[in-house]
C-alpha cells in the first residue's frame, strides 16, 4: 500500500482510495496538475498547500504568476489565511514577481525574491529553501505555480531540466511536489516531457477532474465545482 497525504480537496480522498488505503496524494511523488486556463488549477495547489500547513507539514511555494501579496489575497478569498504560517516560517515562499527594492516583500528569511527569467537563481533559492524546510520537517509539500510562466520566459528544454532538478531535490529530501501547467501553452513535445517527469497527472477542464495517472491506482474521474471552500468533487 502506498502512503498518501491529505489533499485538502473535498471528495478527492474518496476518489483515489484503493485497497483499504486512505486515498489522497501519494507521499513523496510528483504531481502535474494541468488543464485549460481558469479551471481551478491554482486553487487546487493552494488548497493542497493550506491543508498541509494545517496538518503541520511545511510548504515550499514557488510563485511565478502572482506576487506574495496577490497570493495572500487569493488565499483569503477562500478563508485560507497564511499570515501565521509566514510568521512561524512553515510557509517558505520564493517570489519571482515582486520587487524587494520597492518594499513589496516583507523582510523574512522565508520569503525570498528571485527572477522569472533567471532559472539558475531560482534553482539556487530552491536548494536553500528545501534545505531550510527539510531541517524542520522531512514531511513537507512544495508547489510551483506555474510552469507555464517559466516556459514563457525561458528556453523550453532549459525549463524541463530545471523542473527535473527541482523534482529530484524535493523528492530526495522527502517532500511531495506539485507543478501547475496551463494546457497548450507550450508545444506538444514540451507537454509530453512534462508529463513524463511526474508520477501523477491530474487534469481539470472546468467540469471534470480526471486523475489520468496516479501511482498505485488506475484512471479515475469526478465532476467538480468551485465553491467558496475551494474545489469540491
Amino acid at each position: 500500500m502506498i502512503p498518501c497525504i491529505e489533499s485538502g480537496i473535498s471528495g478527492f480522498e474518496e476518489l483515489t482510495r484503493s485497497n483499504g488505503g486512505t486515498g489522497g496524494i501519494p507521499e513523496n511523488t510528483a504531481t502535474l496538475v494541468y488543464g485549460p486556463a481558469k479551471t481551478g488549477k491554482s486553487i487546487f495547489a493552494n488548497q493542497f498547500t493550506y491543508q498541509g500547513l494545517l496538518n503541520g507539514e511545511p510548504c515550499l511555494y514557488i510563485t511565478t504568476d502572482k506576487g506574495l501579496k496577490q497570493f495572500e489575497t487569493s488565499m483569503n478569498e477562500f478563508q485560507w489565511p497564511i499570515e501565521t504560517y509566514l510568521e512561524d516560517n512553515s510557509l517558505y515562499v520564493i517570489d519571482t514577481i515582486s520587487d524587494v527594492s520597492k518594499g513589496n516583500l516583507p523582510k523574512s528569511k522565508t520569503v525570498v525574491q528571485s527572477y522569472i527569467n533567471n532559472p539558475t537563481d531560482i534553482m539556487v533559492k530552491v536548494g536553500s529553501g528545501v534545505h531550510y524546510i527539510y531541517r524542520n520537517n522531512p514531511r513537507f509539500r512544495s508547489v510551483i505555480d506555474s510552469a507555464t510562466t517559466l516556459l514563457a520566459y525561458n528556453e523550453n528544454m532549459l525549463i524541463i531540466r530545471v523542473l527535473k532538478a527541482y523534482l529530484m531535490r524535493v523528492n530526495e529530501a522527502g517532500g511531495t511536489p506539485i507543478i501547475i501547467y496551463t494546457e497548450n501553452s507550450a508545444d506538444k513535445i514540451v507537454e509530453t516531457m512534462l508529463k513524463s517527469l511526474v508520477d501523477n497527472i491530474i487534469r481539470l477542464d472546468g467540469k471534470e477532474l480526471v486523475v489520468e495517472a496516479m501511482k498505485g491506482i488506475g484512471k479515475r474521474s469526478s465532476p467538480y465545482q468551485i465553491t467558496d471552500k475551494g474545489i469540491e468533487l
Binding site: 485497497n19 527535473k164 532538478a165 513535445i189 509530453t192 508529463k195 513524463s196 489520468e212 495517472a213 501511482k215
Partner: protein, 240 residues
C-alpha cells in the same frame, strides 16, 4: 528456433509464441519499449529485469529518469525487492540522475554515478559495466530507462549517436537490451530513426500492447497485439 528469454510478464510469452520462437523476449536482441506517458513502460522494464534477477541472470541497469532510491521504491510497490541482488552484485547500476538532487552519494563496486548531461562519462561507465556483467555471464539483460531525460539534456542527434554506441556494446557482449522511451518527446523524424535502430518494438498505449519483432536473418517480421492491465503484481497481458 530463435532463443527467447522469459519476460516475467504474465501472458506476454504466450502472446509472442510463433513457429519461429517459443515466446518471450528474443535473446541477444534489442527492444524499444515506447508509448505515451504513464502507460507502464518502466514497470515493464523492471518486471523483466526482476525476472532475470530471480534466475540470477546479471543485469546492467542504466537509470536516467529516477534515482536508484526511487527505482527501488517503485519496485518495492510491486514487491520486487532488489537489495539482495545489489549486495551480491548480480545487478550493476549506472545512476545518471541522482547527482542532480544535490545529495551526496558514493560509488560502490556495482553502483556508479554518472550524469545525464555528460554522455561521454555515461558511455565510459556503460563500457565498464558491460564488461563487468559479461564476465559473470554471457546471458545478461540490459535496461535503459529512459531516453527522455537524455533528450532533455542533450541534442537529439547526440542522443542517437550515444544510443547507437550503447546498442553496439550490448550486441557485441551478447546482452539483451530493453530501452524505454516516451512517445512524443522528440519530433517524428527522430522518432522514426529511433525505432529503426531496434530489432523489436513494444508499444504500450494504456490499453493495448503491440509487439513487433524483426528477425533480420530470416527476413521475417512478426507482430502481436493484446490488451493489458497494470495490477499490483505488475503488467498482465490478458489477451483480449
Amino acid at each position: 528456433m530463435i532463443q527467447t528469454i522469459e519476460s516475467g510478464i504474465p501472458g506476454f510469452d504466450q502472446l509472442t509464441v510463433s513457429e519461429l520462437a517459443e515466446g518471450g523476449i528474443p535473446e541477444k536482441s534489442t527492444t524499444l519499449i515506447y508509448g505515451p506517458p504513464k502507460t507502464g513502460k518502466s514497470i515493464f522494464c523492471n518486471q523483466f529485469a526482476y525476472q532475470g534477477l530471480l534466475k540470477l541472470e546479471p543485469c546492467l541497469y542504466v537509470t536516467t529518469d529516477q534515482g536508484l532510491k526511487q527505482v527501488q521504491s517503485n519496485m518495492m510497490g510491486f514487491n520486487w525487492l532488489i537489495q539482495s541482488y545489489i549486495q551480491n552484485q548480480t545487478i550493476y547500476i549506472i545512476d545518471g540522475i541522482s547527482q542532480l538532487s544535490g545529495a551526496k552519494f558514493d560509488d560502490t563496486n556495482n553502483i556508479k554515478l554518472s550524469s545525464v548531461g555528460n554522455p561521454a562519462d555515461m558511455m565510459v561507465k556503460v563500457g565498464i559495466g558491460t564488461r563487468s556483467v559479461y564476465k559473470k555471464s554471457n546471458h545478461f539483460i540490459s535496461i535503459l530507462d529512459s531516453l527522455n531525460t537524455l533528450f532533455a539534456f542533450n541534442q537529439e542527434q547526440m542522443v542517437i549517436r550515444i544510443l547507437k554506441a550503447y546498442l553496439r556494446r550490448i550486441r557485441e557482449a551478447g546482452g539483451t537490451g530493453l530501452i524505454a522511451y516516451t512517445e512524443g518527446v522528440t519530433d517524428s523524424d527522430t522518432e522514426n530513426e529511433l525505432k529503426s535502430l531496434f530489432d523489436n518494438t513494444i508499444r504500450l498505449d494504456g490499453e493495448y500492447i503491440r509487439v513487433e519483432s524483426n528477425f533480420e536473418d530470416i527476413e521475417e517480421v512478426k507482430s502481436y497485439e493484446s490488451t493489458y492491465i497494470i495490477t499490483d503484481k505488475g503488467i498482465v497481458v490478458n489477451g483480449k
